[in-house]
Symmetry: C2
DNA sequence: CTGAAAGCGCTTACAG
DNA sequence: CTGAAAGCGCTTACAG
């Protein structure tokens, strides 16, 4: 009994070469589309490889190439719908280009992000797609496309949703319903989406000449939790002159806000209109069906990956690209519009 | 101008060794917890490494070790909540053990799965977590834990939700409401969850002495689409003696079924009671709030990863483990129970 | 068209 | 305690 029966070593290129009676270098060439190989040799080597069940060792290939066919994707939390959709979109274009995705979660903690980035650098990934929680940190040593949560001015490219445009759509629709006192419940302006949606809200309110009192702006906690949105909504409802409509800058916030309305005996949209930036899964089936923004997180992922690939290929020559994916309004019932 | 200024080569162990004036082998040892190193050398090497910003090249380490610190996770679709939660749970324990996860999507296509597995083998991952769409295919060459969609009798371990127990809970609750004609809308019995939930439904119906006519069992399409569930529900409603309650074996199915009820002018739960195996995100906020099963997909991921690690460590000595994660009933309104 | 040789960046027996 | 050497599995100039 040889050792090999016990430790089933995977066949290597040397094994293939030996079986095909050629040098390893020849075997290597025969397995690619190298032109400098006789048809006969190519066939012989391929047959040997097939017979042995040979699969090239990508670790060795990577070492040789001084870079691994990996792209890192760093997200706060893969279990959040937005990020899992983004990741899937990015994976599609990455895999089509021969890359595998290494997905790391940061929980939006700077320390975790730093470790994640170091890990990716250690693996010598080719590029990184990063939703950062450290907008002021220096860029990784590896080509990086920032998405969702950006580092201003940094990276090979930056992609995000059209936060300001979306807010304008939402506030505009509420204003068209005749609302003048519109409240806002949003995440903290620490990162891109929180900051841009708040700014977008303020800009839209100004453009439309709405009552812009500070009391109408409520900031939820850093996890955009439904609970903190509920508390925010409760505060708004307790105002002497409460808003007649509210825009929530995320789906969890909208749901928390609706919960608080119910608890307070206010009906949506009859007593208070509500619209939301993020459209939750099955938002059409909620009570009431939610008026929200439609966009493609998946497409955002594809775009980010595409920009990274372009950058790796030496493209993006004319400076970093900053891309905003447009969103569109989906009118359902929570804004006060009648059933379809 | 040296080339190095143009191509910022990452420092290697040789660079560190040179700076610290030791041999590479010594530098290597000094950077680990090797005992056979003088304190002074250790300090000098560490200082050099720090000064250079040295990060060990994991690709080289992997080649040397003949295995990469990766674990593959193969799922039908990372954008499906169940899988993204599972992945996150698995990642937590995998990363704590020093592994990175390589997540691949198969779209439930056998061809994609085969490619994914080959890719993983090429990367010489240490282990695989696999929700298979090829239950009859041979096992990968690498230690594999099957989850969710299992290959009977295969793998180092198998983990899934307690499908039969869950169905029994659901049907039992409906029966307790007095229903005797209970319909079933489920995914095809091609894979584990479809098969076990259907079997569990039948067993529960038998146990409870319910009307078990075949017409009450409807099978949706292979993607468990809401549309196919809607069509199934429409067929059930058109029966001469339709069921008075329905159990949906997935969240999308439940939502499609509810949509069909609405379209047909039947109210849930007044005209028809409905319960669902999967609890959708925000299931409590639907109209009506859904009676469903609670479980932890995240925990399932942790368990699967734990079993894989145990297997890699040579554990699982007493045969493959087969684990079923229990579920519990969450009573809300769609079953006919009054509001809390 | 084919082969011998070097080398990617590590680690680990083997000496000393 | 430290170093020289070999080798993990590939690929690619360099010869022929």
């Amino acid at each position: 009994m040889s050792d090999e029966a016990l430790l089933p070593r995977r066949p290597t290129l040397v094994d293939v070469a030996r079986l095909a009676q050629v040098a390893p270098s020849t075997a290597s060439r025969a397995l690619k589309e190298s032109p400098r190989i006789s048809e006969e040799t190519r066939l012989r080597v391929r047959a040997a490889a097939r017979g042995l069940g040979y699969q090239p060792n990508r670790v060795a290939q990577s070492l040789r190439a001084m870079a691994a066919p990996f792209v890192g994707i760093v997200v706060p939390d893969i279990a959040i719908t937005f990020y899992s959709r983004f990741v899937k979109g990015a994976q599609e274009v990455l895999e089509a280009a021969g890359y595998q995705a290494l997905v790391l979660n940061t929980e939006r903690e700077a320390g975790h992000e730093e470790v994640a980035l170091r890990t990716l650098e250690g693996h010598r990934v080719r590029g990184i797609l990063l939703a950062t929680s450290r907008p002021d940190a220096p860029e990784p040593h590896i080509p990086t496309v920032y998405f969702d949560s950006l580092a201003p001015g940094r990276g090979a490219a930056r992609v995000a949703l059209a936060n300001a445009q979306g807010m304008d759509l939402l506030v505009g629709h509420l204003a068209a319903h005749g609302h003048e006192r519109i409240g806002y419940i949003g995440g903290p302006p620490t990162f891109t989406s929180g900051a841009e949606r708040l700014a977008g809200f303020r800009l839209a309110a100004e453009r439309l000449g709405l009552d812009a009192r500070a009391a109408y702006v409520e900031i939820a906690d850093s996890t955009w939790s439904a609970d903190s949105a509920g508390a925010a909504m409760t505060r708004l409802l307790a105002l002497a002159e409460p808003p007649t409509a509210v825009v929530a800058s995320g789906d969890t916030l909208a749901l928390g806000a609706i919960g608080a309305c119910r608890a307070a005996g206010r009906r949506v949209p009859d007593d208070l209109a509500l619209v939301t930036f993020d459209d939750p899964l099955f938002g059409a089936l909620f009570d009431p069906p939610l008026t929200a923004l439609r966009r493609s997180d998946h497409e955002l992922g594809r775009r980010a990956a595409g920009l990274l690939l372009a950058s790796l290929a030496g493209g993006n020559g004319d400076g970093p690209a900053e891309l905003r994916l447009p969103v569109e309004l989906v009118v359902r019932r929570s804004c006060g519009c009648p059933a379809a």
